[in-house]
């Protein structure tokens, strides 16, 4: 890299006359909200390649600073300093460098990593992937700003998660309960209704009578999907319980790197300062990882598995780990990432590394979807590791955990019976085994299947669980204590094997 700067042509240009005064905190969200732009702009653009731009002759520019680029036509773009060496700065341009002419391009360095205004002003707003409102309203204002990169939470200050977030989706609430402060992803494959499910959860989720809100960060959504999400969540946004950030498929790829971080920065303030329980939905993280790979390739970094950068795990962790609760502070941040597994491959780096970080997973199954069941969740491969902390007596109900354990055990048995029935025919099964087939049908019809706008109460869900369980005779319900079994339930002892 040429470190010799030509000081004559690279002196910072003073653009006092044609630059609007430096933005005050809170104006013009998306044009680097919360940034005081200096009057000085540099003109020494040395090279442009893919998303990268090298500026020479800079002084005092720090790593990871936020950057504003003014093209020769006056168009504004933004970027991040990826590396600094002596008087050279390598800038990652969010919108890409297409159309930029080194001769007329001027670059301003903000002096600090990207910060955004935070606070209650975000509630009810609909924005693009960088936080610029697209709802026709004014820019989002805030009394303070926070760095979007976030800071690691001191592990000794974390409060272990407890108390549920109820989604109104029976199969999730009953069998893979969300816990406040948890990170629990939805693993899906292209073509399944994961976006619909995420949107339904965003529209319905609640934390009992406690103040609650949702930050929905969409990444790589088509315009049709974006319109669907906006339409479906309009109601909740209108009552100020939802913030929508959508990075559309045709928006700059690198903007996707920002979207989840902006969402989490907004959420942290709402949770730990304003005492709300915040659910952050990140859809789709596979697109995010692809954007990361694109930058990594442009920076000529040494690739690891499937050409994803070696730091993919740490990068994802830096996002997912921003969930949690903190001792002595109100509120909580719960993270629900949605990701599609390319080719349905759970060992693909994105789901694999996500699984290593998150506390369980909710897996959608194409087979269940093909049977016309919504949401097509496969309860047997889904797991909420923290469910014990968030469900049970005093949190959901004393019956909840035994019922969930019984349903999962019986469903596993039903699966085996179903395989056997496919082999030898249902008629050759024992009476008990045929009972399991009926159980499986009831499980999907009564409990899992629900309308996309149907918000089921916990009582309704648990009642359905019990009704499904009681399609089996008493002898098969070994995980339920006697007090939970209704009097009229057949004992099942009279069954004889064929």
């Amino acid at each position: 890299m040429n470190t010799q700067a030509d000081t004559d042509t690279n002196t910072p240009a003073n653009t006092d006359t044609n630059t609007p005064a430096a933005a005050a905190v809170g104006t013009a969200v998306g044009t680097a909200p919360g940034t005081n732009w200096p009057y000085l702009e540099y003109t020494g653009v040395d090279s442009l390649r893919g998303p990268l731009m090298v500026v020479s002759g800079v002084r005092g520019v720090g790593f990871d600073e936020y950057v504003r680029i003014r093209g020769q036509d006056g168009e504004l773009r933004y970027g991040v300093v990826a590396e600094v060496q002596e008087d050279l700065a390598v800038v990652q341009v969010l919108e890409g460098t297409g159309g930029l002419d080194p001769a007329g391009t001027r670059v301003a360095f903000s002096g600090t990593p990207l910060r955004i205004p935070v606070g209650l002003g975000w509630l009810g707003r609909m924005c693009d992937g960088r936080g610029t409102p697209v709802d026709g309203g004014p820019p989002v204002m805030g009394s303070r700003t926070a760095p979007v990169a976030g800071r690691p939470i001191n592990p000794t200050r974390r409060e272990p998660p407890s108390e549920p977030v109820l989604t109104g989706v029976s199969v999730i609430d009953a069998l893979t309960t969300f816990v406040r402060g948890q990170k629990l992803p939805i693993f899906s494959v292209p073509g399944l209704p994961h976006l619909e499910l995420a949107t339904q959860i965003a529209g319905q989720a609640a934390a009992g009578s406690q103040p609650f809100c949702v930050v929905f960060a969409g990444m790589d959504l088509t315009h049709a999907d974006a319109a669907f999400v906006r339409g479906a969540l309009e109601e909740r946004a209108a009552v100020g319980e939802l913030i929508l950030l959508i990075n559309t498929s045709d928006a700059p790829v690198l903007e996707r790197i920002m979207t989840p971080r902006i969402a989490l920065t907004i959420a942290e303030e709402l949770a730990f300062v304003h005492g709300r329980h915040v659910l952050v939905i990140l859809a789709d993280m596979t697109s995010y990882a692809e954007a990361l790979r694109e930058i990594s390739a442009a920076r000529e970094e040494i690739p690891a598995r499937r050409a994803y950068p070696g730091y993919l795990y740490s990068d994802l962790a830096g996002i997912y780990e921003r969930c949690g609760r903190i001792r002595g502070l109100p509120g909580s941040v719960t993270v629900l990432p949605v990701l599609t597994m390319p080719g349905g491959d759970i060992t693909h780096p994105v789901p694999d590394l996500t699984g290593y970080i998150t506390e369980g997973q909710i897996v959608l199954s194409a087979e269940t979807a093909a049977r016309g069941i919504y949401p097509p969740i496969d309860p047997l491969s889904s797991l909420s590791r923290l469910m014990r902390n968030g469900a049970g007596p005093g949190r959901t109900s004393a019956e909840h955990l035994p019922l969930a354990a019984q349903l999962l055990a019986s469903l596993a048995r039903a699966r085996q019976v179903r395989d056997l029935a496919d082999l030898i025919g249902a008629d050759s099964l024992s009476r008990t085994d045929r009972g399991y087939l009926d159980f499986e049908d009831a499980f999907y019809k009564l409990l899992v299947d629900q309308r996309r706008t149907e918000n089921r109460s916990l009582a309704d869900t648990l009642d359905r669980c019990a009704r499904v369980a009681f399609t089996l005779p008493r002898s098969e319900l070994t995980m339920l204590p006697d007090r939970m079994l209704p009097a009229g339930l057949p004992s099942g002892k009279e069954q004889e094997r064929k």
Binding site: Q85, E86, I302, R305, Y311, E321, E359
Partner: protein, 591 residues
């Protein structure tokens, strides 16, 4: 020590290049502080006048020209009385005094000084010879482990040798402090003219010296039957625990941390989940110590470097853990380092190698991955300490193979350096068989000697044979069905099931069975073997009888019903099943 004698030249993530002012130098592995925020870093390469530094915190905002303060000492950890019961970051800085969020202004973990004091009892007299390792006294730190104050190694290392003969006279104790309360930095003795404080700095990458290595055939009792019976490990040994996500690695390691019979536990959360770390700390601080009346936390040191904390501190945390373990080893204790997970540490190595432009080897990992792993696992061992006592460091490392691929570099290289591998199997975990230790894919190089030492020798041999035979038959059963097999083979399949469900399974959540001492382990194994023998005998003698229809429930529930010491309950369960088998055979016990 705090003079600015250099400037930042280049910043790319955790890789920082610096230049020192004329006349100033720094050595490899020395610590430097970068910029106004004083981000700690370590010199990892020197080329001409340019020094490459690995930064241990976020470098956002760091700019060329920012000041650099060389510390003129290698990256080292502060070892002392404040360790036990504490939670530290990857550079062994206490986290208790830090804020809710780390990094940035005011969040430096060592911002608040530790003001605690401990009762010191001197045990040596002035004039006594006091070479490194000599016991000077004790500190009252906790009830379960006596903190021994020793003459630290390297005390006279940097002193010029006046005669030039290389063999200085034996240093003697000049002065020792009277009994009393002292803080961690207090000087309590003077040896050969050098002050000895209650805490010392030790370079984390340098193994602490000892007299010699000893052979050890003392088993480390983990309280986990699958490990103690089938794949035991010695005190001073090392083991790797590879397993994909959801196979129960962390739960297994936490169980070992809670129940193993080592004196001091160092739990190293390296790039793992924050909530999980919070839960571990919470549980350890509530758990009553199985030995002595205190809390388990009192003899545990937690190093927490969660996945959102700076990546490069993962790299150092592994060595910090080993360093702390060696500190207690030198006091004559058995220490265990539990590292979860070494794969995240290897990723930090890869990240930095990539930034510094090193040539990549397999999957982008640096070519020296194997030697870095060796440097960690080889710090395990039983030794004769400088003070002529006996101490050990046992190293247990989790490995998180991407995609469950057991042929990936970290898993493959780790296997070469460990004495035991406890492979966790996804199929077992999905079948809710916990701990999901695969008997087919695990090994223990010292199994025979250790099983003998624990009195499990013959038991282990039989169990291994039974499991292997049942596994061989499993494929056949899938093909032709169990009923098509002859009685002998059917019994072999049944035997495999009884061993798996009656002995190997162990619930970490269970009040009675979370921990299984040797007596209970042996009783359960013997009970199951007795029943298996009777099954074969009945099947052979009584012809075609449905042995499988006997209710084996009491035997399988014995592990849950019997508390850790209730051998009689196990025997009772065994006798119930034996009686049922005898009844099946026609009331007469076939022998």
């Amino acid at each position: 020590m705090d003079a600015v004698t250099g400037a930042v030249r280049r910043v790319a993530g955790p890789l920082v290049e610096i230049e020192l002012d004329g006349g100033h130098t720094a050595a490899m592995s020395e610590q430097v502080l970068l910029g106004a925020a004083r981000v700690p870093g370590e010199v990892v390469a020197i080329r001409g006048g340019v020094l490459t530094v690995q930064a241990y915190e976020y470098t956002g905002g760091l700019a060329p020209g920012d000041p650099v303060i060389p510390q003129h000492r290698p990256l080292s950890a502060l070892l002392g009385a404040a360790l036990l019961g504490g939670v530290f970051d990857g550079l062994l800085r206490p986290l208790a005094g830090a804020g809710d969020w780390l990094g940035g202004s005011g969040g430096a973990p060592d911002a608040t000084p530790d003001e605690r004091t401990w009762q010191f009892t001197p045990e040596a007299d002035p004039g006594d010879p006091a070479p490194a390792g000599t016991r000077l006294g004790t500190l009252a730190v906790c009830t379960a482990v006596e903190h021994r104050v020793l003459v630290p190694p390297g005390l006279h290392e940097n002193r010029p040798d006046p005669d030039g003969y290389g063999a200085p006279a034996q240093p003697r104790l000049d002065w020792i402090a009277p009994p009393g309360q002292y803080g961690q930095h207090a000087v309590v003795a003077r040896v050969g003219g050098e002050p000895v404080a209650l805490s010392e700095r030790w370079p984390i990458r340098r193994p602490r010296p000892f007299r010699r290595r000893l052979d050890s055939v003392t088993p480390l009792h983990t309280g986990q039957r699958a490990l103690d019976l089938l794949f035991p490990i010695a005190k001073g040994g090392s083991a790797a625990v590879p397993g994909g996500f959801g196979t129960g690695k962390t739960v297994l390691l936490q169980q070992i941390a809670k129940w193993c019979d080592a004196d001091v536990i160092i739990y190293l959360g390296c790039g793992e989940r924050g909530n999980e770390m919070a839960q571990v700390v919470d549980e350890i601080s509530r758990l009553r110590d199985p030995r002595g009346g205190g809390r388990l936390a009192e003899r545990t040191v937690v190093v927490a470097n969660t996945s959102d904390m700076p990546m490069m501190a993962r790299e150092s945390s592994i060595y910090v853990g080993a360093c702390v373990a060696e500190y207690y080893r030198d006091m004559g204790y058995d220490a265990v380092v539990i590292a979860d997970s070494t794969s995240r540490w290897a990723e930090a190595l890869r990240e930095f190698a990539s930034r510094s432009g090193a040539l990549p080897a397999e999957e982008g990992f640096p070519a020296d991955l194997a030697s870095a792993l060796a440097a960690f696992y080889e710090r395990a061992g039983t030794v004769q300490t400088l003070g002529s006592g006996r101490g050990s460091v046992t190293v247990l490392g989790a490995v998180s193979p991407p995609g469950g691929d057991m042929a990936e570099p970290v898993t493959v290289h780790t296997e070469r350096f460990v004495r035991a591998r406890w492979t966790l199997d996804r199929d077992l975990a999905y079948a809710r068989h916990y701990p999901a230790v695969s008997w087919a894919a695990s090994f223990s190089r010292d199994a025979a000697a250790l099983a003998h030492a624990a009195g499990f020798g013959p038991l282990r041999e039989r169990l291994v044979l039974i499991l292997a035979r049942a596994d061989r038959l499993a494929d056949l059963v899938d093909l032709v069905g169990i009923s098509a097999l002859p009685a002998e083979e059917r019994m072999a399949v049944l035997a495999g099931r009884l061993v798996r469900e009656g002995v190997l399974q162990q619930s970490a959540l269970s009040e009675t069975d979370g921990y299984s001492p040797d007596r209970k382990t042996a009783a359960l194994a013997e009970a199951v073997l007795a029943v298996i023998d009777r099954c074969f005998a009945v099947a052979r003698a009584a012809g075609p009888v449905p042995v499988e229809s006997v209710d084996f429930g009491p035997l399988l529930r014995a592990r849950e019903q019997a508390g850790p010491q209730d051998v009689a309950v196990v025997e009772q369960c065994r006798d119930t099943v034996l009686a049922a088998l005898d009844a099946l055979a026609g009331g007469e016990a076939p022998r």
